[in-house]
């Protein structure tokens, strides 16, 4: 029977060509008993299954024995619900790996025990660090092909630890596995008694994710304005998504971007926080809401000289003394995915929360070599799958946080307005909310 309240852990898997990543995913799904008989039958029947076929769902992938595009697969153990995002190791590396890693709680990096830490491992570790995935698990795979040797495992572990010293990886764990044989996947391997840690699935069940969420800095984004039913006071209504922090009823907040013409914060009071209902039923009253909750609220306390105040989609509610200062100059790390290079002077449109803002690339500071971590300050353009540090100038002020502090307001997309193509991912840097002086607040 369906369990009631399970947490939802997003896991991004990445590896190099042929290190057995799809096989490991197939093994995890199989051992969690989440593959159906007809799916297992399609893998080639009993005996040695081609586990990679559980996820390599495209014709070209199966024919070439490779993974081309990010695939998603849900599975659950008794304790936890997992959503795996599996990205290919080699094709369009930055594009696919960043797609899988964005929003992930855990990055699972595969290393072939025979080859140790290779360039691809370094790239994946760097990407996980730049995207700030809170947990990383190094799976040293194909242990069966090195005689389950502890030395081989220790050598991978040592070289990864040396690499991670230069990166921002708060939690790294190592598990020696054989995905093909199932060693240390769901149960302890009899071949590797020297390994004292937990098998992979047990480790994933235990990873402490509840502290990863930011419940301090309130950021609630307006999904859409609405007309509240039976509203005599004509208070503006909004549908909000809580991006971080805790939103409470009767709280005094400010709206950023409430007026098109001004970036001044507008003080409001949250009244009648509620959960939207279907079939025009009355909304259920709430005392508070946490991320990523979607709620409706009336905004009270708007000064009478601010008639016509109706916060648009993309405006944001914060606490009066804890909000990002509106700014037009944005410093960011960019993960470029466009075929045309990103060059200084280029005009693009930026997706930040639910807002679109036109931006101009004012300068490219350096290109980061993702294999050597070397910064190339001579670069004034970035090619497809390059990573670099840029400054953008926006047409209207943004209320952006540093990505390290608030993940959801510290990230953005770069989009070509004409074609709609998503060309880049941004993690934003920069001054984090010096309390702004508030006009009209006493």
């Amino acid at each position: 029977m369906a369990p009631l309240a399970r947490d939802f852990v997003r896991v991004a898997t990445s590896g190099s060509v042929d290190d057995g990543k799809s096989t490991l995913i197939g093994r995890m799904v199989l051992e969690a008993k989440q593959a159906f008989d007809d799916e297992i039958e399609a893998l080639g029947g009993p005996g040695v299954l081609d586990l990679a076929q559980l996820t390599d769902g495209l014709r070209e992938e199966s024919e070439k024995g490779i993974t081309i595009d990010v695939a998603y697969r849900s599975f659950a153990t008794r304790r936890r619900r997992f959503l795996l995002a599996d990205s290919p190791g080699h094709v369009e590396l930055t594009r696919n790996a960043v797609t899988a890693l964005s929003g992930a709680d855990v990055a699972l990096v595969l290393v072939d025990a025979r080859h140790g830490v290779v360039e691809q491992t370094r790239r994946h570790a760097l990407l996980a660090s730049l995207i700030r995935v809170p947990h990383l698990v190094v799976c040293v795979n194909k242990m069966d092909l090195v005689g389950f040797s502890r030395d081989a495992y220790d050598s991978v572990r040592d070289s990864f630890e040396e690499l991670s010293e230069r990166l921002d990886l708060p939690d790294v764990a190592f598990v020696p596995v054989s995905a093909l044989g199932g060693d240390n996947v769901s149960s302890r391997s009899a071949e590797m008694t020297w390994y004292e840690g937990a098998p992979l699935l047990a480790h994933l069940e235990e990873v402490h994710t509840s502290s990863d969420r930011n419940l301090v800095d309130l950021r609630a984004s307006v999904e859409r304005p609405l007309q509240l039913p039976g509203d005599r006071t004509r208070e503006p209504g909004v549908v909000l998504q809580v991006l971080s922090g805790v939103l409470r009823d009767e709280e005094e907040l400010v709206v950023l971007g409430g007026f098109e013409s001004s970036s001044e914060p507008v003080p409001v009071t949250i009244r009648r926080l509620a959960a939207p209902a279907a079939l025009r039923a009355p909304a259920k009253t709430l005392r508070e809401a946490r991320p990523p909750g979607i709620v409706v609220a009336a905004l009270g306390g708007v000064a009478s000289d601010q008639g016509g105040f109706w916060p648009p989609r993309g405006s944001m509610l914060c606490r009066p003394l804890n909000h990002p200062a509106p700014r037009s100059e944005i410093d960011a790390m960019v993960f470029w995915m466009g075929d045309q290079p990103l060059a200084e002077g280029m005009r693009l449109t930026m997706r930040h929360t639910t807002r679109w803002v036109g931006v101009r690339v004012s300068s490219v500071h350096y290109r980061l070599d993702i294999s050597t971590l070397h910064r190339d300050p001579g670069a004034c353009a970035l090619g497809a799958n390059d990573i670099g540090h840029v400054t953008l100038v926006a047409d209207h002020p943004l209320w952006a946080d540093d990505h390290a502090r608030v993940r959801s307001t510290g990230c953005a997309l770069l989009v070509d307005a004409a074609s709609g193509a998503t060309l880049g991912a941004l993690t934003l840097r920069g001054p984090t909310s010096p309390p702004a002086s508030l006009r009209g607040v006493t």
Binding site: V70, V242, A278, R280, P292, G293, R351, G420
Partner: protein
């Protein structure tokens, strides 16, 4: 949704202040966030509505996203005229209840107009004809976004699908050139002639759909629950006998207690033997089954391993 209900006077002060934050709440928030993007930023979105359980859940979510108003999106049904009568009755009742306008794109009319050519062999499915009829409707009504109930866990080609997926001017899906989807930042922009497919249930499983149906009290067509029906056994499946699905020569018609796990055309959807007559019984059955949802019931997926990928590339939903 990570929310706390207002405490009442009868609660003790020691009652937990925070309601449990379930995986279902997360899935619902993810779906509403996507629906707001499409309903706020697309010019003419429509809901693809088959009357199946997934589209029933999407209809419910669209209604929540429109609170306190009525959904300003029409429902489009690509009608092969090979439907289960119970599902058509449900379709009309459900859309009336949610105050959603029904638009029907008729496969029969498309055949008469020469838009598509029907396979005239007995019991042939019109499934493959739906893509062309759908694309014709997109052009006729000027839809720029179609919201559907497809889930990644249904099929391997769908596991590669984005939540917001661009279709080119011929409706085709190009799995090699999909837009990256990053964090929960949705990009509903698209070029001229292109349209979007929007899948709010991408990360839901069959069990999630039933849990949500139970939690929200969503009504479903009666054929999802155990009933008596004349059937034939065909290729290991139980196929309901009806006007469009006559028994083949030599097939024996028997009456069985069955239910449908998925709902498509009568010609390509098989029943399963089941005595599950309530939502908890259905959930218990799914929890113990060893066969995937489409594997058990979809004759149209059995063409080849790649039949879904090929149909998606041609504009299928």
């Amino acid at each position: 949704m990570g929310t706390t209900e207002q405490t009442t006077g009868t609660e003790t002060p020691s009652a937990p202040a925070i309601a449990p934050f379930t995986d279902l709440d997360l899935l619902e928030a993810e779906a509403l966030h996507l629906l707001h993007a499409v309903m706020s930023e697309c010019e003419r979105p429509a809901l693809l509505f088959s009357g199946g359980k997934d589209s029933a859940v999407v209809l419910h979510l669209v209604s929540k996203a429109a609170w306190p108003g009525e959904p300003q999106v029409p429902a489009l049904h690509v009608d092969t005229e090979h439907n289960f009568p119970e599902v058509i009755a449900y379709r009309d009742a459900a859309l009336a209840r949610y105050h959603v306008e029904l638009l029907v794109a008729s496969v029969s009319e498309a055949i008469e107009a020469g838009l598509v050519v029907e396979d005239a062999s007995p019991g042939a499915s019109r499934n493959a004809l739906q893509s062309a009829v759908l694309l014709d409707a997109v052009a006729r009504y000027g839809f720029d976004a179609l919201v559907g109930g497809a889930r990644r866990d249904e099929e391997k080609a769908r596991a590669k699908e984005r939540m917001l997926s661009v279709r080119d001017s011929s409706g085709g899906w190009n799995p090699r050139h999909q837009r990256p989807e990053l964090w929960d930042l949705h990009n509903p922009l698209h070029g001229p002639g292109e349209h979007l497919r929007c899948f709010p249930l991408s990360n839901w499983t069959e069990m999630d759909v039933w849990r949500y149906v139970e939690r929200e009290g969503i009504e479903l067509p009666s054929i999802y629950f155990a009933h008596r029906r004349p059937v034939v056994r065909r290729a290991g499946m139980l196929v309901g006998v009806g006007p469009h699905t006559p028994p083949a020569p030599g097939e024996e018609v028997l009456e069985a207690t069955v239910r449908y796990r998925t709902v498509g055309d009568m010609t390509c959807t098989a029943a399963i033997e089941s005595a599950a007559s309530s939502i908890p019984e259905v959930m218990a059955e799914i929890a113990s089954t060893r066969t995937s949802e489409r594997g058990a019931t979809r004759m149209d997926d059995r063409g080849s391993r790649w039949s879904m990928e090929d149909r998606k590339k041609a504009g299928y939903f």
